[in-house]
């Protein structure tokens, strides 16, 4: 049996550039919203508005106004939606066509900081654990992996994350559930797709930085 492949996303070195989103669209020929002409969201520099079948991103790095740069992450592999180009519902294929010729998925290839790493899950787990140990040695005691336990609730997702705080701080549930909200068009979903575990609408705050820099919100200062 071939080795299980997957993603490890180290959120501590993500710079929110959205190269993964563009690379995914480019490789999979997913269309731009409204042909590329759309309105400013007013949501800082982030105009994606929602992640769905045409907008996939590993890490959603939103900078909220209440305090500078509060992060919000939404995992990629959970997204199940219509692909308007193909007219079918699908989820991330890990760029199956690229893998056939020995290339890593487009998002991992495009990630400039190697925040997104693709490879054999077992190897990624080892690498990720080393990174956690390193961060702890550097004083980041809260560094932890999320979704990496093959026997845990997210087992089988093959996409896990490095966080530097409790899951709740990121808005992540301690016990993730099936993404029932995204299954509304279940008529076109295969049983196999429906069985895939995922996460929904994970809202998080980079609380540490907010406390450090925001200093209580309404300063209206240069921060």
């Amino acid at each position: 049996m071939p080795e299980a492949m997957g993603f490890f996303t180290d959120t501590t070195i993500c710079i929110g550039c959205k190269a993964c989103e563009v690379a995914c669209k480019n490789w999979n020929q997913l269309p731009a919203t409204n042909g590329g002409v759309s309105e400013l969201s007013g949501d800082s520099y982030d105009n994606t508005r929602k992640l769905d079948g045409t907008h996939w991103r590993h890490v959603k790095f939103i900078e909220q106004f209440e305090g500078p740069y509060n992060g919000r992450w939404l995992m990629m592999s959970d997204v199940i939606d219509m692909n308007p180009a193909a007219g079918t519902a699908q989820k991330c294929t890990l760029c199956y066509d690229r893998m056939q010729v020995g290339l890593e998925p487009a998002c991992a290839k495009a990630c400039p900081t190697d925040s997104i790493q693709f490879g054999p899950i077992a190897e990624l787990r080892t690498r990720a654990q080393k990174r956690v140990d390193q961060l702890k040695a550097q004083g980041e005691k809260r560094a932890r992996l999320y979704g990496d336990d093959p026997n845990g609730p997210l087992g089988g997702l093959n996409s896990f994350y490095l966080l530097v705080d409790e899951p709740e701080v990121y808005g992540l549930p301690r016990d993730p559930k099936l993404p029932s909200r995204n299954l509304k068009s279940s008529g076109v979903l295969s049983a196999a797709t429906g069985a895939v575990l995922g996460l929904v609408a994970l809202v998080g705050l980079r609380k540490r930085r907010m406390d450090e820099i925001g200093g209580g919100g309404e300063r209206g200062s240069e921060n």
């Binding site: 929110g16 400039p112 980079r206 921060n223």
Partner: protein
């Protein structure tokens, strides 16, 4: 500082993130809290344009700190590798004595032939020079010029040698550089930094302490900057100030150190090396100028050669360049065709050219890969464009520059009628990067070759095709002319057509490798014999080389070093010398002799890079058969030093170029072999950085109340109705505005606003403002806002954030706003032209505009 690296250079930001994985501390000093700030350990706010006050504060803090005065490393580095000990001329007067200006300040009057230089004043730099012994006896330069001595030009170079400079290695002499700079920066206290920059004192001190703790034998610190340090009326001095600080901290020429210019993504570095710039010819030699003593080949050499540095070889670089220009027609008898070479008349930079164009002094323009209709002082730029007889636009899309004549705001609102514009506009569709062969030079000075991957659509042509065929046709047009001014064209060597039997990538396309060979250089007698490096260059015409700094990138017909892709194995300290090729001579860290101590030993095991191996057995010289004595500079990088010159070597009394320098003179491009804390020549606006306010500022200069702005900066079209300027503290324009870039957009947008995937990510122009200003003006997020400056007004949607806002400057609350400038009316993602707000004022050294700090007003639309 001066960069939002995570958002504007995300690919290069890979390396700070790798450093962070290794435990490095990241500090971001910036007016805005950006994604760079978000991943940094510390963000320090700073008022746009006040960076010299901040850096000057760091310098003052460092030289008075306990650590700097007790760790012997710093003194050893500074005394041996910088000009700290050098004594300055007794006539020199510092800003401390003259309340904000240096000795030598005079007025400037425009030369009648090209009155577009814009200088507000001019320094005579005579008093800034080193105090020296009298010049050694020998033939006089003017006599050698008069009797047309050389080649070889060694005697001419030798005649330029000055007497030795006076030094005080104890650094106690009140006129030594160290004492001058200590006095100069003494008023830059942490309290003053807080007042001028708006940076909290405690955060400023945190930065200073972090730099001190992370500099020394065993640790280094690096600065990275981008255009936020260049786009000022004193931008060069900002960078110079950082270099000064880094030299004091021993952070130059060592791994993990330095001042990194984050340049505009590959092509900008290449375009200054093999220049599209007006003021230099290849390899950073100054362009022959009608305003300098450049009347003849030898006069140029005398004016432009530093005899006691590697630049002592300038005659070799210049003659090899002239051979590249004029081929066999260039001979010793006709001074290698020097008189055919065009000379500049003054400032022909971007703004100066548009200022001349606005007055009808420019007939035509080729605009390739540039979109000036959205550029500086946009409405003045478009006024200038309307005066042209013809305009060529070569781009991927019908940019604003191709469509200004019917779509510009002044045409749409009826102030200008299309029918009145006389300009004939030609549009040439252009290829993109993956559609042709060529090289990129990145910000590390590294050349990387790329090959054509796909065919270009339709009738798109490459830039090489365009200029190759333009040159061939122009040569044809001048053929037969006997006018002296046309002989440069008639004698121009232009042989880039592919060899017979070699299929060009497109019909009529030149051979890119032949262009690379021309740049690398070859033996004049046999173009198939490429030059191995610039040490092989001769001043007698036997070598041909367009750009001496690139010599060695293509040393043999089958060795294109820029195409190499072999990284070092993981875990091995190294410089990846087999990946691409970096100028000069494939060195990755310049001035790396300074990575070893004066005796040639690594400063520490951890910071080992290049060192002296006294036991190395050198092979015999192939010409003489004699082996040099034992000993060689070795290491992970290519040593930036004469490889067999021992650390205790003395300068040769009669020597020129490297022979005039000692075994500890690490800075081989400087005439004294030292890093310059004090800059006696080369800068027009002072030997030491000084804080001035931007031309347009809401506050007075608190450090030097008598001199608000740089006394020698540039104002083009001064007094003309198309370049009005705000006065200091103008109540009509109370806010500080800074322009910036976004990850999703690229420059003036031609490569991003037409691309749906990028357009949707940044669909509209916005102005970013703080909550306090928004509340004061009744502006809510996404409201339409009118932003005005003396040059014009534009509309944008408001983005109200906490990342930018009020600063307390001299007890006055100053609102900061910021705008990305990528937009125009064409493409998928459109918006007003932010540069319609910017002014034609700029830096005296490099003529860049002041786009990072000026003033505006903001009102709800």
């Amino acid at each position: 500082m001066g960069s939002n690296m995570a958002e504007c250079h995300p690919v290069a930001f890979r390396w700070p993130m790798k450093a962070k994985l290794n435990g490095a501390k990241l500090i971001h000093v910036d007016p805005r809290f950006t994604r760079t700030s978000a991943v940094a350990d510390l963000h320090v706010p700073i008022r746009a344009g006040s960076d010299i006050a901040f850096l000057g504060g760091l310098i003052n803090y460092v030289v008075n700190s306990r650590r700097w005065n007790t760790d012997p490393f710093f003194k050893e580095f500074v005394v041996n590798y910088t000009n700290a000990a050098t004594i300055i001329n007794k006539d020199f007067k510092d800003t401390e004595e003259l309340e904000g200006v240096f000795s030598g300040l005079g007025s400037f009057s425009e030369p009648p032939g090209w009155p577009y230089n814009g200088f507000q004043g001019r320094y005579d730099t005579a008093s800034w020079q080193y105090e020296r012994d009298p010049k050694p006896p020998g033939p006089k330069t003017e006599d050698l010029i008069a009797r047309r001595a050389g080649p070889p030009f060694d005697d001419l170079v030798r005649s330029l040698k000055p007497g030795p400079a006076h030094r005080d290695p104890t650094l106690q002499n009140p006129r030594c550089v160290f004492q001058i700079l200590k006095r100069h920066f003494s008023r830059y206290t942490p309290e003053m930094v807080e007042q001028v920059c708006g940076s909290p004192k405690d955060k400023f001190i945190q930065v200073a302490e972090a730099l001190l703790a992370n500099s020394g034998r065993d640790r280094t610190s690096a600065f990275a900057y981008a255009v936020a340090w260049t786009q000022h009326t004193y931008g060069v001095q900002m960078i110079s100030c950082c270099a000064l600080l880094q030299l004091l901290l021993g952070n130059v020429g060592r791994p993990g150190a330095g001042v990194m210019a984050l340049r505009g993504h590959a092509a900008i570095q290449g375009s200054t090396d093999v220049p599209t710039l007006y003021h230099s010819i290849h390899g950073y030699m100054n362009a022959p100028s009608a305003l300098r003593p450049h009347e003849s080949l030898r006069a140029y050499m005398a004016a432009e050669t530093t005899p006691t540095s590697y630049y002592g070889n300038t005659p070799k670089f210049l003659v090899s360049y002239l051979k590249s220009m004029y081929g066999a027609a260039a001979t010793a008898d006709n001074d290698f065709g020097y008189d055919w070479h065009p000379k500049i008349l003054g400032d022909h930079s971007h703004i100066a050219t548009f200022a001349a164009m606005a007055e009808g002094k420019v007939k035509g323009m080729c605009c390739v890969g540039q979109n000036p209709a959205t550029s500086l002082n946009g409405s003045a730029t478009r006024l200038a464009l309307r005066q042209l007889d013809w305009l060529v636009v070569k781009d991927n899309w019908l940019t604003e520059t191709a469509t200004y004549w019917y779509q510009a705001p002044e045409v749409k609102d009826g102030r200008v009628h299309s029918g009145d514009i006389k300009t004939e506009i030609f549009f040439f569709p252009s290829t993109q990067i993956a559609e042709y062969d060529g090289s990129f030079t990145n910000t590390q000075r590294m050349l990387q070759w790329h090959s054509k991957a796909v065919d270009a659509p339709g009738d798109c042509r490459t830039d090489t095709w365009f200029y190759h065929n333009l040159a061939k046709r122009t040569k044809k047009a001048y053929a037969g002319s006997t006018a002296p001014r046309d002989q440069g064209w008639n004698n121009l060597l232009w042989d880039f057509d592919p060899d017979p039997g070699v299929k060009p990538i497109y019909p009529g396309e030149p051979d890119a490798l032949k262009i690379l060979r021309e740049i690398n250089g070859y033996m004049t007698a046999d173009p198939h014999q490429h030059l191995p490096g610039f040490a092989a260059l001769k001043d007698d015409g036997s070598t041909t080389c367009a750009s001496w700094i690139y010599c060695g990138c293509y040393p043999a017909p089958d060795q294109n070093m820029s195409a190499r892709r072999e990284p070092d194995p993981p875990g091995v300290p190294g410089a990846h010398l087999k990946w691409g090729w970096a100028w000069p001579a494939n060195r990755r860290v310049m001035y790396n002799r300074a990575s070893a101590d004066p005796r040639g030993n690594p400063w520490s095991e951890r910071k080992r890079w290049v060192w002296w191996d006294p036991t190395f057995v050198n092979p015999p010289d192939p010409k003489t058969g004699i082996a040099p004595p034992r000993g060689k500079w070795v290491g992970y990088d290519v040593p930036d030093f004469a490889v067999t010159k021992a650390p205790d070597a003395k300068p040769k009394p009669d020597g020129i170029a490297l022979d005039a320098l000692s075994g500890t003179d690490a800075f081989i491009m400087r005439g004294d072999g030292r890093g310059w804390l004090f800059v006696p020549t080369g800068l027009l606006d002072g030997p030491l950085p000084t804080h001035y306010e931007p031309h347009e500022s809401p506050v007075q200069n608190m450090l030097y109340p008598k001199h608000q702005m740089s006394p020698v900066h540039k104002v083009w079209s001064a007094g003309k109705p198309w370049n009005p300027l705000a006065s200091v503290g103008d109540p009509k324009y109370p806010h500080v505005i800074t322009t910036y870039r976004l990850t999703e957009m690229y420059l003036a947008g031609a490569m991003s606003r037409w691309l749906p995937w990028l357009a949707e990510l940044q669909p509209e122009l916005f102005i970013e403002m703080g909550k306090a200003l928004a509340a004061e003006k009744g502006i809510r997020n996404l409201d339409w806002v009118i932003i005005s400056s003396p040059r014009g007004h534009i509309r944008a949607k408001a983005l109200v954030t906490d990342r930018i806002g009020v600063m307390q400057i001299a007890g006055k609350a100053i609102h900061h706003v910021g705008m990305p400038w990528h937009w125009g009316w064409a493409g998928l993602s459109t918006g007003d032209v932010v540069n319609d707000l910017t002014a034609w004022v700029g830096d005296p050294n490099v003529s860049i505009h002041e786009g990072k700090a000026f003033v505006c007003n903001v009102e709800k639309a």
